[in-house]
Amino acid sequence: MKQLSLEKLNDLFALIGQTEALYLPVDDAAGQAAYRRWQPGYTLSKALNTVRSAKDFFFPQTENLVDFKMQGKSIEVIDPRTEQENFVLFGVRACDARSFSILDKVFLADPVDTYYQSRREHGTIVTLACTRPEETCFCTVFGIDPAEPAGDVSCWIEENTLFMKANTPKGDALLTLAAPLLSEGGDDAVAAQQAATRSVLARLPLAKLSLDGMGGESMLKLFDSDKWAELSQACIGCGTCTFVCPTCQCYDIKDFNTGDGVRRFRCWDSCMYSDFTRMAHGNPRLTQRERFRQRFMHKLVYFPANNHGEYGCVGCGRCLSKCPVSMNIVKVAKALEGEVK
């Protein structure tokens, strides 16, 4: 375990920022946390988590895939990518750290998505342990310990000290870079903080959320449940839950005519949107009920069916606080609980 006085936190940021792009949560104009590229004067946000998840860094909201130049009947295909720079993502919470491994299962599965892969290879993830979880948190349901977050480096902030522990070779490299600022020690302080945090975790209102019976075995039973009509009745069909979700990864591919050529880009898409599955011959999901069902079935049933029971949710609670009509995965899971008994 390494430690650093918080007074020197900015020195640490400056040191890392010298060699690599450093991103960390800072408060935005509306007082919410958002990842920004560090520059002198920025301070680490005290908020529990960012509004947008950290998935942006590996799977950005829009990303150019390929450029085309057209002349007469011919087409030229241009790969627009430049070399990916190394970057450090500081202050990622345990839930978001888990989300990367969920995204990996999609994007790194054969055939590998090289756009995503390159960002994953060049990113170093520095996680930060939670000390004040909120009522919307339920990461523990998925076996995540926010007091011991994963990532290349794990950090704890206690009183006036930052404690750091490297978990991977990438993490070792980062701590070696920061070595001039760091000193040894802090195991006891970290253990004490973890014990305190875990006692709060046990008291979280959603800590006992049961997902028994979810997963592939009850696919058709859950799909045909008549609860969906009731659950989806308030849904306004926006993409808020999808876009703040750290594990939602559906995307659209669109062409943009720049006047000079065509830029094909991909952008986040939402299965909650009415045109998500619309085709020339019709739409298999005609009402919001089907679209709503798809999102939650995917997270609670389809994804675990394909991934040894791992759910497509990390319990970060973003959809709980952001849904315009206060509908969310917890309410869905609770309503469906009775269906599989």
Partner: protein, 275 residues
Amino acid sequence: MNSETLIPKIGVVTDIRIDTPDVRTFRVVGLDGKKAFEHMPGQCAMLSMPGVGEAMFSITSSPTNTEYMEFSIKKCGCLTDWLHAMEVGQQITIRGPYGNYFPVETDLKGQDLVFIAGGIGLAPLRSVINYVRAKRGNYGKLQVIYGSRSKEDLVDYQEILDEWMADEGVEVNLTIDREEEGWDGHVGFVPNYVKELEPDLKSKVLVCGPPIMIKFTLAGLKELGFTETQVYTTMELRMKCGVGKCGRCNIGNKYVCKDGPVFRFDQLDELPDEY
């Protein structure tokens, strides 16, 4: 497979055949004049015109055709309108092959095969039919039951007359929805025709066509005594990536682009009814 799967190759359209008033068959080769890639019958490819759109089409030519690939495309949206308007020599983009294929080298080998198609649904089956015809010795009897709205809507009509009907051991049964002048063949819907023809219960069946036709055909086959494990179909849903990541063609825990498009009906039974 190309590891940069989202970056397409250039395909050159070397021939455009007008099949029906709204179906054309496009012959495509790579820039080097050879096939852009190899495939198996039932697999698909993403064709696109940058700025217009990109969509998944089944490859209608047989893998045994070593010179080019063909796509029979019905005019029904932005991209297909554009494709129908283009001229020979036009470059388009192509990526693939995507999806699984009819089990021609395993489950279907040595079997009697019945192909049932409606309208443009013949497109994916044509690839299998020609594959099987090319490797005739590996399969038993072949029966093709194909129907369309009218005579002029029969896709690949000339090929059917000149080649399939001329083949020994291939029985071709054509039908159209309504009586018309110059047609002395069968008149009626495909599902009813299938029941009339009573295909051999030992055979494997490959069905493709509009959803409603598939539904009634399957019901008819069951009445005749076929089981779901004997019947294969190929599906179509909106797709963007083609590699099971963009989430669009997700049904249950399957992705039609990657785990499909070919499914056996007993496999479909295990999936939510959302197609």
